[in-house]
């Protein structure tokens, strides 16, 4: 059939115009809704955007662990969110029980106090990262490795089981207790507000109406996340283990033939992903200063959605997806209703799977025999 002979109906079908129109309507509705609210009160809107960036960077750190593990073993590591929770608790204990963040000031009194706090905070984060890496490697060794050749669903159910175990073991009265615990930050909070320039907000003072406020928590989250992302990119792109990881993700049997220790590589991947989640746990707890045993579930699931949104297996994709998720969550919580943010997150997931299952940066998956 010639192109000229196509009827209007066939053209509509061929151009997928019905679906495109549906999406356009949906996008217009969202823009109308958010734009209308933003015009009502621009400072509030910018405040939401800043909060969203803060959340998005934390999600990015968690999402990287999901995307790396999925890229290599094709397993949705449900327990990842609970590793994140574990990281937050480790930092909670190291700060409030052992005063780890004060060691530079105690050990080297001559150090300038600001530098001492920075080093102390970094060591708190480092401790959480290391303990999460050890936890994840243990989980991988005990629960996932024996199931490597089993059907993928068996491994997924096992992952759910591990996640439950970590949560409810944490809920036991002598472990983390089932209560909300107030988190003590390793540093004092400093707040600024923007209104025709950046001003320092004195402690206890109210910010003037119509201003946008941000604190050093935001700066720390952004700086730490970017440092970790650069470090991760270096490991994956430049080092030998990174090369081995990429090879294993691409083709496991062949990389084994090439002399790569596949089990070791998988173990390392779990460790790297978990250490990022551990850092995210500390940052999340400093931003929202409360820890509880189930705190990892919803951020974990949302980070997974972010990884899918960006294209699972892709590191920049996880980052971009997490930023979008952070914005979506904050805007829906601010402009629709607070509990709706969970519903919106999963609606995004379903839409992504509907429109572009490979995600923003994902490449179409190779058909495997």
């Amino acid at each position: 059939m010639n192109n000229e002979q196509l009827t209007l109906l066939q053209r509509i079908i061929k151009g997928k115009w019905i679906g495109k129109g549906f999406l356009a309507l949906l996008a217009l509705a969202v823009i109308w809704w958010v734009g209308g609210k933003a015009l009502q009160s621009p400072p509030l809107f910018f405040q939401q955007i800043i909060n969203g960036i803060q959340l998005g960077f934390v999600y990015a750190l968690i999402a990287l662990g999901y995307t790396m593990v999925y890229g290599i073993v094709r397993l949705i590591n449900f327990a990842h969110g609970d590793v994140f929770m574990f990281g937050a608790f480790v930092s909670f204990f190291s700060v409030s029980q052992f005063q780890l963040h004060l060691w530079p000031i105690k050990a080297l009194p001559s150090l300038p106090p600001a530098l001492g706090i920075v080093i102390g905070t970094l060591s708190v984060i480092l401790l959480s990262m290391v303990s999460c890496a050890i936890l994840a490697m243990t989980i991988e060794r005990i629960a996932y490795k024996p199931l490597r050749d089993a059907p993928r669903i068996s491994a997924l159910i096992t992952a759910i089981g591990v996640s439950f175990f970590l949560e409810y073991f944490g809920a036991l009265p002598f472990v983390f207790t089932p209560n909300f615990i107030t988190y003590k930050r390793p540093f004092d909070i400093v707040t600024w507000y923007i209104q025709g320039g950046i001003h320092r907000l004195e402690a206890g003072a109210e910010a003037p109406p119509g201003s946008v406020i941000f604190s050093n928590v935001l700066i720390i989250i952004i700086v730490v996340s970017i440092l970790l992302l650069v470090g991760l990119n270096y490991i994956v792109r430049q080092t030998k283990i990174g090369k081995a990881m990429r090879a294993t993700a691409y083709d496991k049997p062949t990389s084994r033939l090439m002399g790569i220790n596949v089990d070791g590589v998988i173990s390392t991947t779990f460790a790297i992903g978990a250490s990022l989640a551990g850092a995210a746990g500390v940052l999340y707890a400093t931003a929202y200063p409360q820890v509880v045993f189930w705190m990892g579930i919803i951020p974990g699931l949302k980070a997974f959605v972010a990884a899918v949104l960006g294209g699972i297996g892709s590191i920049p994709g996880a980052f971009v997806g997490a930023l979008i998720m952070g914005q979506a969550e904050v805007l829906s919580a601010g402009y629709i209703s607070t509990p709706m943010r969970d519903a919106v997150a999963f609606t995004i997931l379903i839409l992504v799977l509907l429109i572009r299952p490979t995600g923003i940066f994902g490449e179409p998956e190779r058909e495997k025999a």
Binding site: I153, L156, I160, L353
Partner: protein, 423 residues
């Protein structure tokens, strides 16, 4: 139906058990606590059978069963609530017409989509959404008109009888509503790979829970009372009702699985590509299994809502959605008898005995022990606790192997055997 020894034995034992329990309940030997547990066991059997159909027989890892259960529960509860507390059939008629019209809309849209060849999935989904919206609006308007006559007719009956009728229709409508939602939801997500499907369905459960938390403000159902919990639902579900539904579900599943449709559903689990090569419409089989499984979940939800007369969104928390999953895994994937036994064991032992026997602190240990069991099961006994045991009545009768008769057929079989040995 041919009555052989197995069939007769199965039915005698089953009906005998049900009657025995009913007699014990009527005589007061079985306390209400245990009666409730037995009912919950039967309800969980139905939910888990639905999940087993989706996951065990069709191979789709679904975590959405609990969401459909919640939909069925709230829909049915709303209908009977409006009948008993507000004395009108508003919920009944509106839901009936919405369900019926949406069903017709699905049917017509499916015909239309089949005629428009080469339509991409997104466009098809958009068409379905538009059709459902139109049908639902018409259904609500038409239903309003019919409220008064329906109320009159039902009020003229004896009150107990009319309540039972409303209850029965409500439970069935709850199931149908869940099935229709699952059809719409399954359109985009059923084509995904198994673990993406799991996450999408988990997301569905979370969305349903969030919506139920805000059912009074966001959805506009005042009587559901959102996160405060819905009270005042009539406690109509008796042991005989759940037993009756369980029997119907067992017959339904048995006959489905023994039919060629059932074999097609199972073949999708075994190997999608091979099934496609055999001419099986994989997408259709997945949809059938998913919709039917969700229907069972909605049905069970309706039954559950009328056991305690109280519903709370926390009952439908996604953490609890792993309960049917655990039952199905323990009972054995693709085993009907195993699922039923595991569901009753779950209800009686975990919810009953252990709660009475063990000290109060056990509650905190429960979810520590569960996952460990699950891990050990996955590692050591992936075929389930009962190891694929099936009552003879439910066991699948496979077609007899082909026996060649003539010389020509014999030589053909030999040729095929030789060819397959060459691999």
């Amino acid at each position: 139906m041919k009555l052989d020894r197995h069939t007769l034995g199965f039915w005698i034992v089953l009906i005998g058990l049900i009657v025995l329990i009913q007699i014990l309940v009527s005589l007061g030997i079985l306390s209400p606590f245990w009666e409730t547990l037995l009912k919950i066991g039967a309800v969980m059997s139905i939910v888990s059978l639905g999940l087993n159909l989706i996951y065990g027989f069709n191979g789709q890892f679904s975590l959405g069963q609990w969401g459909f259960y919640a939909i069925g529960a709230y829909a049915a509860a709303d209908v009977t609530y409006r009948w008993t507390q507000m004395n009108n059939a508003s919920g009944l008629m509106v839901l009936l017409l919405v369900v019926a019209l949406v069903g017709i809309a699905f049917f017509l849209t499916a015909k239309l989509v089949a005629r428009l060849r080469g339509l991409d999935p997104l466009s098809a989904f958009a068409l379905y959404i538009v059709a459902v919206l139109i049908a639902a609006v018409i259904g609500v308007q038409l239903g309003r008109v019919l409220i008064a006559p329906a109320t009159q007719i039902l009020s003229s009956l004896p009150p107990n009888l009319s309540l039972q009728i409303v209850y029965l229709i409500a439970v069935l409508l709850g199931g149908c509503l869940a099935a229709e939602v699952s059809y719409l939801f399954g359109l985009p997500v059923l084509t995904l790979g198994s673990d993406y499907f799991g996450i999408a369905t988990l997301g569905f459960t979370i969305i349903v829970k969030v919506l139920l938390d805000n059912s009074d403000t966001l959805l506009g159902f005042e009587e559901m009372k959102g996160a405060r919990g819905m009270v005042g639902i009539p406690k109509t579900t008796s042991w005989l009702w759940v037993a009756l539904f369980l029997i119907i579900v067992i017959i339904l599943l048995r006959n489905l699985l023994h039919s060629s449709h059932g074999r097609a559903i199972i073949s999708v689990r075994e190997d999608e590509i091979a099934a496609k090569a055999m001419g099986i419409d994989v997408a259709q089989q997945k949809t059938i299994a998913f919709v039917l499984g969700s229907f069972l979940a909605g049905l069970a939800g309706g039954l559950y809502a009328h056991i305690n007369g109280f519903l709370h969104p926390n009952t439908f928390n996604f953490i609890k959605s792993f309960d049917p999953m655990i039952i199905v895994v323990f009972g054995g994937l693709g085993s009907v008898s195993g699922t039923i036994m595991a569901a009753f064991t779950w209800a009686l032992v975990l919810e009953g005995f252990l709660r009475i026997l063990l000290p109060a602190g056990f509650e905190t240990w429960r979810f520590v022990v569960y996952p460990l069991f699950l891990l050990v099961m996955m590692l050591l006994r992936p075929q389930g606790l009962f190891g694929g045991f099936e009552f003879p009545y439910l066991r699948q009768v496979l077609p007899k192997p082909y026996t060649p008769k003539t010389e020509e057929q014999l030589s053909l079989v030999h040729a095929i055997e030789e060819a397959s040995e060459g691999d």
